[in-house]
Subunit: 388 residues, 2 copies
């Protein structure tokens, strides 16, 4: 049987995989609520400018073997569904499943006996086998077993989406054994480096602990950076020689932003707290705290620098150079650099902003003041961590 | 000028470097308080059975270009001193410098104008430039500048001492620039992969943060292992697929023992606490706590297993299989496995011990009960973390 594949969510993670699947000879229906984006794709235009490598795939397949649509009924003939929509966490660090629930309930409405559904969004372990299964059963009026359900975490990195899909190891696991095998057999047709693991839960856990590793090691780097500064040691010199095949000390930063790493540790922390295992997540919680508090550390450093300027506080022009959550990526989601700007403004300082990825007008539209770094008294380069 | 080199401390770290220096064509005087060990070395016998690779070097140079002696006066003609003696931490986690102070004061007594001294023992950053310098100045009645002082951390790994010295990158830094350059020029004659860093302090910091990296990452692995167990995920399966070029989740354990990793984070924690920067060492402290508490975690797991045995508590024979601090190394210093044995005994359990590196008599001599694992009701394999 030839599979007709639906990809639900055509964002930075979904569109690349939709393009790769189409390029592997499948018919793909992409579903996204953004009609304008769907029209772009169908006319062969890549709507994600950060992903240059997508241009060619969308040009080749958009509107042909990859058809984008904003209504789920366009996917009703599909028998393989990949869901890759955003998941946010709320102010209590609990996951907000509303977007995902909506996607699954809509898929449930068109789900047929024998269809297979794969979730790619990073979620707390056990999500696929519990609430996702429940949404699908409720809406489809099928029992799990009549449809198949698996989990395969996306491993996207903005700007490298296609090469990551083609080269980077990817795992997939089923809610039951047959679901895992079935999903694996389809995935291997478009993902060369795919590995079947024992369960969906293991696959969910794998993705989350990767993020935890990153968060904890960035926190370690931030803590060691502060200690080095305190005892007048050049952290970067020490790091260069400390690192070798058995040691991989990360780079310090203003914190950890974006839509991945700052969320994932909470998936485990919240789960452990829920069952009263508060002592099972001390390192994850401490790492989150350290990374989130780095903006306070840098605010203090900037304020100390202000004291060296022979002007009144209101006259000192402070420039935060770089406000995106990561260097070279024009995204502000959970940007600690932007949080630092707001923190300094709240403290009553005269803060301006510069970012090579944003025009003056874009910065002004955000309600911030633009400045050329050369016109500022103090410039904090938020990626190089230098205050000049 | 040809250098005559003294190596103070002929233990697991000192003797290999003394052997390597002798093998590079230098005359070496090795000083160690253990006279029996000195006699062995002088008759060409390797006193460290764990270091097979040393046999040949000691046979070739012992008693010839490498002369071991228990009195410092034998080293009075040396002009280059390498100190590599143990440093312990006391019950408050403060370093106990007594052995090191004694070594430096004795070197100070024979120190001459123009001599160079290098410390290799891992120490809290700033030790070389402050207290070590002070001891030497006091005893030698020379001013720093009349003698030279540098720091180069040993990077020994038991069982691999010679290959580590020959291949592994090593750093050296001076208390002043000229000390660093002078010590570096000598070291490069017997250590091929030596790098000069800007100061002794940076070199001290480098060694300590390597240990901190290990401790924090083992703590992370232990925490993730406990979480995985709680949600019925096979940690090892998850780890296998989570690890790739950007992710290096370590192995879980019963804790961290030995004379290195459990000490080094305290060097930084204590220093930060001393200056009131309690928030600068949260991750290091949390990591220490997690690793030290793993024995309690395993004790509980073992006790839960006891409940499944249909015998009274006193009748259940528990075997801890593996009591050394690391697999394959016959050393008990800070062994968490041994601490686990004592913890279970304290809880009133009937605990026996087996270790492939120790004979029955050796175990009995420690005041512990020996058992063949086959005769026990419950066997905890402390390296594979399996309770059978």
């Amino acid at each position: 049987m030839m599979h007709k594949i639906a990809v639900i969510g055509l964002g930075k993670a979904g569109l690349p995989i939709a393009g790769v699947i189409a390029d592997s000879g499948f018919e793909v229906i992409g579903i996204d609520i953004d009609e304008k984006k769907c029209n772009q794709i169908n006319s062969g235009k890549n709507p994600i400018p950060d992903e240059k490598s997508l241009d060619e795939l969308i040009k080749k397949h958009g509107g042909k073997s990859l058809i984008a649509a904003s209504k789920y009924e366009y996917a009703k003939d599909c028998n393989f569904f990949i869901i890759i929509v955003p998941l946010f966490i709320d102010e209590n660090h609990d996951p907000d499943f509303s977007i995902m629930e909506n996607a699954f309930r809509n898929v449930g409405k068109i789900l047929k006996k024998g269809d297979c559904v794969v979730l790619e969004t990073t979620v707390p372990p056990q999500t696929t086998e519990t609430i996702v299964r429940g949404w699908l059963e409720e809406e489809s009026e099928l029992k799990f077993g009549e449809f198949y359900l698996a989990y395969s975490p996306e491993r996207i990195m903005t700007g490298y989406s296609i090469s990551r899909l083609k080269e980077f190891p990817k795992v997939i696991g089923g809610v039951d054994e047959i679901s895992g095998k079935m999903a694996f057999e389809i995935y291997r047709k478009f993902i060369p480096n795919i590995h079947l693991v024992s369960t969906a839960r293991v696959a969910e856990f794998i993705k989350v602990i990767e993020g935890c590793y990153r968060d904890a090691n960035i926190a370690l780097a931030n803590e060691l950076f502060k200690i080095a500064d305190e005892i007048n040691v050049d952290f970067y010199e020490a790091r260069e020689y400390a690192n070798h095949q058995y040691c991989n000390i990360h780079l310090p930063s203003t914190g950890v932003g974006g839509h991945c790493i700052p969320y994932y540790p909470w998936f485990l922390i919240k789960e452990m707290e829920k069952i009263g295992k508060y002592d099972h997540c001390n390192l994850l919680r401490t790492s989150r705290e350290i990374n989130d508090q780095m903006k306070d550390y840098w605010a203090e450093e900037i304020i100390l620098k202000c004291l060296q300027v022979d002007k009144s506080m209101k006259e000192i022009k402070i420039c935060i150079n770089g406000i995106t959550y990561r260097k070279g990526v024009k995204e502000l989601i959970n940007s600690i650099n932007l949080a630092l700007v707001k923190l300094l403004i709240k403290k009553g300082l005269n803060v301006y902003v510069y970012d090579e990825l944003f025009a003056r007008e874009e910065i002004v539209e955000m309600g911030l003041k633009f400045i050329d770094p050369e016109d500022a008294d103090i410039v904090f380069d938020s990626f190089d961590l230098v205050i000049k």
